[in-house]
Symmetry: C2
Subunit: 378 residues, 2 copies
């Protein structure tokens, strides 16, 4: 802990255009922003040792309320001393509330005013997730940053349906806030989630109502679900100016390197996405020279490393030929190395963004970098 | 390399009963014996980084001619600079000849005097493996220790069938020796393989004939294929005394910790087995307190480490509860940690054997250790 009485806080250090350099203080240490949070869905960033995640430069990881409530169970994690010690991650942890996973994974969902009743995708068992229970679970896990339960709907959606879900999520935000106030530990924080699909008016109403409730941080949810980058950025253009400048802004479930750059340019401070690890498991690598599909036959006899500009051993010390062989053979080490290289690339990208903001040249850096990342199509 | 002119050699350092402490010199460094070789079938010890294999205490790894000839291909590995640099393993490598894998994996096998014609288990493509081609492949890979091609038959087998295969393997040994003499690099060595199923007379004839050809090392093949430990040890009792004391002895495909202890007690110097890594991928751990099945519900809330006596971080730094969760969730990290812990346990077991031989108390150590390893049934 950084202070005798741990306290959540965000401070802006520099700006470049709308891009912000900052720092979030949590009971488990600071988070340099803009930050990308590796996704540790079930209390492990897939195919990585926690030491590798840390060494790659990540300050904070994300874990999932939905997955952990089903297995191993929040009460069990609490009895074992909390999520930090359970997964051997000493830094800050943000937990998603489960709203998105209930929509995308659970079987048989019934949304009511009270919450959402669903069947586990693992064993079909029945569960109820309410705004209060989502907070309780996240307190049991010991998350430094919690997310309110929200209702995520599929896009495209009818406006009436988007409005209903957004209004429900607002009422759930208020209930989550009450539950959080009663049981959270000092220094923990609860973020609200702006919803409203791709409707500018709904998004604005959601943002304004949540800002009125004065949360310590604001997420933008319900994006990156197939609406396309242009629509996503248009939504950011609409929502971000409505959020308080002194609070961190978190764009959930985003995204590609290009998405991150464009979103930071619009004032986003935090991200999470399964892309680096999921792509790694499928033989796809992110490098400073662009995307590389290691399955491609052209790598079969290439002795060069994946990315000589990376500081990650996975990207620097193994030949593309060997990575190709591992991926083609379906070997664990292929998934391990590429998940590691991608996780490191994402952290290096965030570090480069932070440096560009500090130097007040984010726009120029972004243009150069997007050109580099476009690379040679693979 | 340890010498200006690399030279293969074996020296005995100490004995305790029939157990031998020794050292094998190879072009890529020494191997402390008794040695357990982690299996890197397709040029990767499954779910481990090469640095972990080394740090666990392994001096040498095994790779498979059969797998590597099919993918990525021996000529390709040679063009990439050989197997050591391809898989980033700087220490000695032993390659199996492919005889066993052709029997156990390939589709449609036709054994003739010339060799064995088979279909790849990967894509059905047709291949021919002869004693000469097996040597050529192992030279292309750059193996420090090669194995002759042999014919492995399934047990139980008719005596006539076992005799035919044993006699054929003898003729193949002679042909392999000729091919090896023509193309091997300085310091590389070719081992012969004693066959003859579980027939004492056939085993003796095989051993005597091969010893007459004067190979630098002798393997005992065709065991650990379901005949049971008693029959395997009886075969060792028959064969080992026929092998020259000044040459290393390698028991192929063996085995459990108890098998290793009993075989070292009978004068075996080298082993390989998929057990530590395969079991690791299935949630089964070897520890100094015995076998542990991490799937068992009794570990679900156990905060203790897998094996506090292990020097391996995987066995020491993570709770059984977390390992249980990872295994139940089918997570990569579960397979990674348990493969690592098991690989380290096997190396620690070999180190303990070497220390016991050096102290000339192998029999007493073996008795104590077998009792410890019997542990509490899990």
């Amino acid at each position: 802990m950084q202070e005798a009485l741990p306290k959540f806080g965000f401070r802006k250090i520099a700006e470049s255009g709308q891009a912000r350099l900052g720092e979030i203080a949590t009971p488990h240490g600071r988070v340099r922003t803009p930050a990308f949070m590796p996704v540790g869905t079930v209390a492990t960033v897939k195919a990585l040792y926690p030491e590798q995640v840390k060494a790659a430069g990540a300050d904070i990881v994300l874990a999932n309320t939905y997955h952990l409530m089903l297995r191993p169970g929040a009460e069990r994690v609490a009895r074992l001393g909390g999520l930090h010690s359970f997964m051997r991650w000493e830094g800050p942890i943000l937990t998603d509330s489960g709203g998105f996973q209930v929509m995308s994974l659970a079987r048989i969902r019934e949304v009511s005013e009270e919450g959402v009743r669903f069947s586990s995708h693992i064993d079909g068992s029945r569960h109820m997730l309410t705004p209060e229970r989502a907070v309780e679970i996240q307190c049991l896990l010991g998350a430094d940053i919690q997310m309110q339960l929200d209702e995520c709907i599929e896009l495209p959606a009818e406006r009436a349906e988007a409005e209903r879900a957004m209004e429900l999520s607002l009422r759930w935000a208020e209930r989550a806030r009450g539950a959080f106030a009663r049981q959270a530990a000092p220094g923990q924080a609860l973020f609200a989630i702006v919803q409203g699909a791709t409707d500018p008016e709904l998004r604005a109403r959601s943002a304004q109502a949540l800002v009125g409730m004065d949360f310590p941080g604001y997420a933008i949810g319900g994006l990156a679900v197939g609406e396309g980058q242009a629509m996503m950025l248009a939504t950011l253009d609409r929502v971000v100016p409505l959020l308080p400048a002194k609070k961190p802004r978190y764009l959930m479930g985003v995204g590609s390197p290009e998405d991150l750059i464009q979103s930071v340019a619009r004032g986003i401070d935090m991200f999470d996405c399964v892309l680096p690890t999921r792509n790694g498991r499928h033989g796809l690598a992110f490098t400073w020279g662009g995307r590389v599909n290691l399955r491609n036959a052209k790598h079969a006899e290439d002795p060069s490393p994946l990315d000589p500009e990376s500081s990650c051993p996975a990207a620097r010390d193994y030949s593309r030929a060997y990575l190709h062989h591992l991926v083609r053979s379906g070997e664990y080490l292929g998934a391990m190395l590429l998940s590691w290289a991608n996780t490191a690339f994402y952290q290096q990208l965030m570090a480069a963004m932070r440096a560009a903001i500090a130097a007040d040249r984010f726009a120029a850096w972004a243009e150069e970098t997007e050109r580099r990342l476009a690379g040679v199509p693979d």
